[in-house]
C-alpha cells in the first residue's frame, strides 16, 4: 500500500487533504449562520437545511444528467440546493419572528422537518450514482497518489473562500450591511431609522440558508460525494459554535472552518496508516474542540467581542 510507504507522513498529509476536502461544508454553513446571526436571530435549523441541500443537489444532478450533461448537471444541483435552503429559511424566518416564538425551538423543529423531508424525498437517490462536480487537479505534478488526491480542489471550496472576504466587505462598507448590523445590534434604533426589522431578518435568514444549502451540495457532490442519510455529522449545528469562535467575523469563519475540517480528518488519517483503535474518539475531535473553544472564549462576566446585541434576546 502506498499509504504505508509514506509512513507516519501519511498522517499530516491525510489531515491536510481532509482539511481541503472537509472544510467546504463548514465554510458555507458558518458563513450562512454568520449572516443570520448578524441580524440578531439564531438558526439552529441549518442542520436540516444542510441535509435538504445535500439531497436536492444530488437528486437534481442525477435527474438532469440526461439533458444537461455530466458537466452542468451538478451545477444545476448546486442551485437547487441553494433554493431548497431558501425555502426552509423562509419558514424559519417567518416563524421565528412571531411573538413568543423562540428561535432556538424553531431551529430544532426545522432540523426535524428538514431532515425528515430530505430523507423522505431522498429515498430514491440513495442507490444511483449522480454526476459529481469537476475538481481542479492541482496535484498532477506529484507522482504520489495521496498528494494528487489531496490537491483535488473543488470550485465550491474556492467559491466559499471568495465569499468570506466579500461578506466581510458587505457588512462593513455597504448600506445593506449596515442595515443588518443595526437590526442585529439594536432593533429599536433600526426601527427608528425606518428599517423594517422583519424584512431585514427575513432576508438575512433566507440568504444565510441559501449558503447553508450550498454547503449541503459540497457534501453530496464533492466530498464524500454520495447521498446517504448519515452524510451530515452535525456540521450544521457545529456552525453555530464555529460562528461564536469566529467572533461573527466572516474572514475568521474561513480559518475556523479549516480548523474544524482538519479536526474532522484526524480520525480517518490515523486509520489510513493503521492506527484505528481510537477511531471513534478521534472522530469526536471536532465536537470536543468546539466545546473546549466555547469554554475558553465564553465568559459569564463580559459579553463577547462582536456579539450582535440583540442575539438571543426576546423583544
Amino acid at each position: 500500500m502506498a499509504a504505508e510507504s509514506l509512513g507516519l507522513w501519511g498522517i499530516p498529509l491525510g489531515i491536510i487533504a481532509g482539511t481541503l476536502r472537509g472544510s467546504a461544508p463548514f465554510l458555507f454553513v458558518s458563513l450562512g449562520e454568520c449572516l443570520t446571526e448578524k441580524s440578531g436571530k439564531i438558526n439552529l435549523g441549518l442542520e436540516g437545511t444542510l441535509l435538504m441541500g445535500a439531497m436536492s443537489a444530488y437528486g437534481v444532478s442525477y435527474l438532469s444528467e440526461g439533458w444537461a450533461g455530466p458537466f452542468w448537471a451538478p451545477w444545476l444541483g448546486v442551485i437547487a440546493a441553494g433554493l431548497s435552503g431558501m425555502a426552509l429559511g423562509a419558514i424559519h424566518g417567518w416563524l421565528s419572528q412571531q411573538p413568543r416564538v423562540n428561535d432556538v425551538a424553531t431551529g430544532i423543529a426545522m432540523i426535524v422537518f428538514g431532515s425528515g423531508l430530505a430523507f423522505f424525498l431522498g429515498k430514491p437517490f440513495i442507490q444511483p450514482q449522480a454526476p459529481q462536480l469537476f475538481t481542479f487537479d492541482w496535484g498532477s505534478w506529484s507522482s504520489i497518489p495521496q498528494i494528487q488526491a489531496a490537491l483535488k480542489i473543488s470550485p465550491l471550496f474556492l467559491l466559499g473562500v471568495a465569499i468570506a472576504p466579500l461578506l466581510h466587505w458587505f457588512f462593513r462598507y455597504t448600506r445593506w450591511g449596515l442595515y443588518i448590523r443595526a437590526v442585529g445590534d439594536s432593533p429599536q434604533a433600526a426601527r427608528a431609522m425606518g428599517i423594517s426589522t422583519f424584512k431585514v431578518r427575513m432576508a438575512s435568514i433566507v440568504a444565510g440558508s441559501f449558503l447553508a444549502g450550498i454547503g449541503g451540495a459540497c457534501l453530496s457532490l464533492y466530498y464524500p460525494g454520495v447521498w446517504t442519510e448519515r452524510i451530515s455529522s452535525g456540521q450544521g449545528l457545529m456552525a453555530v459554535a464555529l460562528v461564536i469562535f469566529a467572533k461573527w467575523n466572516p474572514i475568521q469563519c474561513l480559518w475556523a472552518s479549516m480548523l474544524f475540517g482538519g479536526a474532522q480528518a484526524i480520525g480517518p488519517a490515523f486509520q489510513a496508516v493503521g492506527v484505528d483503535s481510537y477511531y471513534y474518539l478521534f472522530n469526536a475531535a471536532p465536537y470536543i474542540l468546539t466545546l473546549l473553544i466555547m469554554v475558553v472564549t465564553c465568559s459569564p462576566q463580559r459579553t463577547l467581542v462582536g456579539l450582535p446585541g440583540a442575539l438571543g434576546k426576546e423583544e
Binding site: V112, F113, K123, Y280, L281, L291, V295
Partner: protein, 358 residues
C-alpha cells in the same frame, strides 16, 4: 338567552385556551400532513386510518405504543425540567446513551451476585447518575463559563455516542456477538420484566412515576417554585437571594437523570446489551414531546403516548402505503412547527380574552 361566552368564567377560559390551542395545532398539523401524503400519492384518509390502527386500534397496538412512550416520557423531562429555569437543553440523546452505558457496566459487573431487584435498582441509579452528571456538565458550563447550554448539550450528544462506540468496539466488545459491535449481554435474571398479562416492560411504570414526581417537584415544592421564579426573571431571583447556580445544576442533574433512566430502561428491557441501536431518536423525539407539552410533566405523559403511537405506525406506513420510513419524521416536524406557531396565538384570540380587555 345567555351566550356561551358569558357563561364561561375568565379563568376557565384561560385554561380552556391552554387545551384548545395545542389540540388545534395538532389538528392543523394533521391537515398539512394529509396534504403532504396526498402530494406523495397516498390517500390521506387511508394514512390517518393506518396510523390510528397501528397506534391505538387494538390492544396489541396499544402495547406497541406504550412501549415506545415509556422512554419518551423520560427523555422529554431532560428538556422540560431545565426549560422551567429558562434553559434550552437538547442533550437528551447523549444523556440517554450515558445512562444506558452506565447501567450496562453496572449490570455486567453485578451479574447474578445480587438479588435481581437490587441489581436493577443499582442499574437504574447508575443510569440516572451518569445521565444527570452529563447534563449537569452543560448546566455548569452555562453557569460558570457562560457557555450556551443548547450548543454544549448538543455537542455532548456526539461525544457520548462516540464514547459508547469506542467502548463497544474496543474494551467492552463481546466478540461472540457478530451482528454489530456490542457489549456482552446482561444476565437474563436482571433484565426488566413485563407488566403481568402484557408485553409492556416496567419502564412504563418508571416513566409514569417519574413524570408525576417531576410535576409535584415543579408545581408543589419550594424548590420548584424557586426554579420557576429563576426561569421567569433571573435578575429578580438573584436579588431575592435565590441560589441560581445551585438551582441550575440541580435542575440540569434531574433532567439528565430522567434521560439516563430512559437509557437504563432501553438497555435493561429492550436491547439487553448496549450497541448503536440504543441511539434511536428517542432523545430528539423527547425534545418534541417537551415542547408540545409546554414543559408540563403531566402533559408529557399524554404527548409521549401520542408520539409513541406515531412512532409505532412507521412500519405500517411503509408496508401499506409505500411511504418511506422518514414520513414519521416529516410528521413530527410538521407537528412541532404547528405547535410553535400556536404559541404565538396565546392571548390573541378574542374569545379567550377578558371582557373589558379589547
Amino acid at each position: 338567552m345567555v351566550s356561551l361566552s358569558q357563561r364561561v368564567s375568565v379563568p376557565a377560559r384561560r385554561s380552556l385556551e391552554a387545551i384548545v390551542l395545542p389540540v388545534a395545532a395538532l389538528a392543523v398539523a394533521l391537515i398539512i400532513f394529509g396534504c403532504f401524503c396526498a402530494l406523495a400519492g397516498a390517500n390521506p384518509f387511508a394514512v390517518y386510518g393506518s396510523i390510528y390502527q397501528a397506534a391505538f386500534g387494538r390492544w396489541s397496538a396499544w402495547q406497541n405504543t406504550l412501549i415506545r412512550a415509556a422512554p419518551l416520557m423520560l427523555t422529554a423531562l431532560c428538556t422540560a425540567l431545565p426549560a422551567r429555569l429558562g434553559l434550552v437543553i437538547i442533550g437528551n440523546e447523549g444523556a440517554l446513551v450515558m445512562g444506558g452505558l452506565a447501567a450496562v457496566v453496572v449490570g455486567l459487573n453485578v451479574g447474578t451476585s445480587l438479588p435481581p431487584l437490587v441489581a436493577q435498582g443499582a442499574m437504574a441509579l447508575a443510569g440516572m447518575v451518569a445521565g444527570g452528571l452529563w447534563i449537569m456538565l452543560a448546566g455548569a458550563l452555562r453557569h460558570y463559563r457562560g457557555v450556551n447550554e443548547t450548543i454544549s448539550s448538543l455537542l455532548l450528544n456526539y461525544i457520548a455516542i462516540a464514547l459508547m462506540n469506542h467502548l463497544v468496539e474496543g474494551p467492552m466488545r463481546d466478540t461472540s456477538f457478530v451482528t454489530k459491535p456490542s457489549s456482552a449481554q446482561l444476565d437474563p435474571s436482571i433484565v426488566l420484566g413485563t407488566i403481568p398479562g402484557t408485553r409492556i416492560h416496567f419502564g412504563l411504570l418508571y416513566g409514569l412515576i417519574v413524570c408525576v414526581l417531576a410535576y409535584y417537584l415543579i408545581q408543589r415544592t419550594t424548590f420548584g417554585f424557586a426554579a420557576r421564579t429563576a426561569g421567569g426573571n433571573i435578575r429578580a431571583a438573584r436579588i431575592a437571594g435565590l441560589p441560581v447556580g445551585k438551582l441550575t445544576l440541580a435542575v440540569c442533574f434531574l433532567g439528565g437523570s430522567a434521560a439516563g433512566l430512559a437509557g437504563m430502561v432501553e438497555v435493561a428491557a429492550v436491547q439487553k446489551r448496549i450497541n448503536e441501536s440504543v441511539v434511536s431518536s428517542y432523545g430528539y423525539a423527547g425534545i418534541l414531546v417537551a415542547f408540545v407539552s409546554r414543559h408540563n410533566p403531566l402533559a408529557t405523559v399524554l404527548v409521549a403516548v401520542l408520539l409513541g403511537g406515531i412512532l409505532a405506525s412507521g412500519g405500517i406506513l411503509q408496508r401499506a402505503h409505500d411511504l418511506p420510513d422518514a414520513t414519521v419524521l416529516v410528521f413530527q416536524g410538521i407537528v412541532f412547527l404547528c405547535v410553535l406557531f400556536s404559541d404565538s396565538l396565546y392571548g390573541k384570540l378574542p374569545w379567550f380574552r377578558e371582557m373589558g380587555e379589547n
